[in-house]
Symmetry: none
């Protein structure tokens, strides 16, 4: 499972190197990833295996229900798969960078979040945290009870 936080930079070509500790968390030899737009304003990266389980859930939705069809469009529209290059980097497509307000040659915050990796604009992540008024203890008590 992914965990930890890391600060890397997106280079001028839109490449992002995946922290080695996160790479080691992935089931061996699977350097295939799928990235898509996050439900929060970030980029979500899934190992290919994990993406399959999400895809299965999507397949159970009914595309004739407008709302479910919309969700399918939104999530698949931005989905891209890629394999790591020889320097363990993935190439992030411009639409995803736009969505997450990430600029090339700037620092990004990489979060390990169990089954997925999240990539944030550090400023946006701060703003995101501030939107919630509750303290860590309060949330822990509510969610983990």
């Amino acid at each position: 499972m992914f965990k930890g936080q890391y600060t890397h930079t997106i280079d001028a070509k839109g490449r992002l190197s995946i922290p080695s500790k996160l790479r080691k968390s992935v089931s061996v030899s699977s350097d295939q990833f799928v990235m898509t737009k996050g439900t929060a304003p970030c980029i979500e990266i899934y190992p290919a295996d994990e993406w399959k389980t999400i895809e299965e859930k999507l397949l159970k939705l009914n595309p004739f229900k407008p709302e479910e069809a919309l969700f399918i469009r939104l999530i698949t529209q931005y989905a891209t798969d890629d394999t790591l290059d020889s320097q363990s980097r993935i190439l992030i497509p411009p639409p995803l960078l736009d969505y997450a307000s990430i600029e090339k040659e700037k620092d990004v915050l990489i979060l390990g979040a169990l089954k997925r990796i999240e990539v944030w604009n550090p400023v946006k992540y701060d703003e995101y945290l501030k939107r919630f008024n509750e303290s860590y203890e309060e949330i822990a008590a509510k969610v983990m009870s």
Copy 2:
């Protein structure tokens, strides 16, 4: 189960040696630990086995629910695993040191707390204790009845 208190120093590289008495409390040959931010202003260190039970709870949460996703981010962001080096030390990442107000080359208070080990800035621990008005005797009566 961990118990006792110890005073060690964080070295210039952010390393902390785990007291030998605590090491002996851990189930044999498991020198794998996971540390994360405490609900109190300290660092919590769990043996890897113990952490798994926490992780299982987290995996049952639904990352498409905003509040549950937030909690996953908060707890996993600070989670780091590490194994003891040949001198029985672990490396504590800067974000955790910041959170617990611990500086390098300073003394820290290490507490054995049953299933986990806690690392405190000694000053912060005093402040923490003073926040509670009740006496030891009163708390005991309330909690243990």
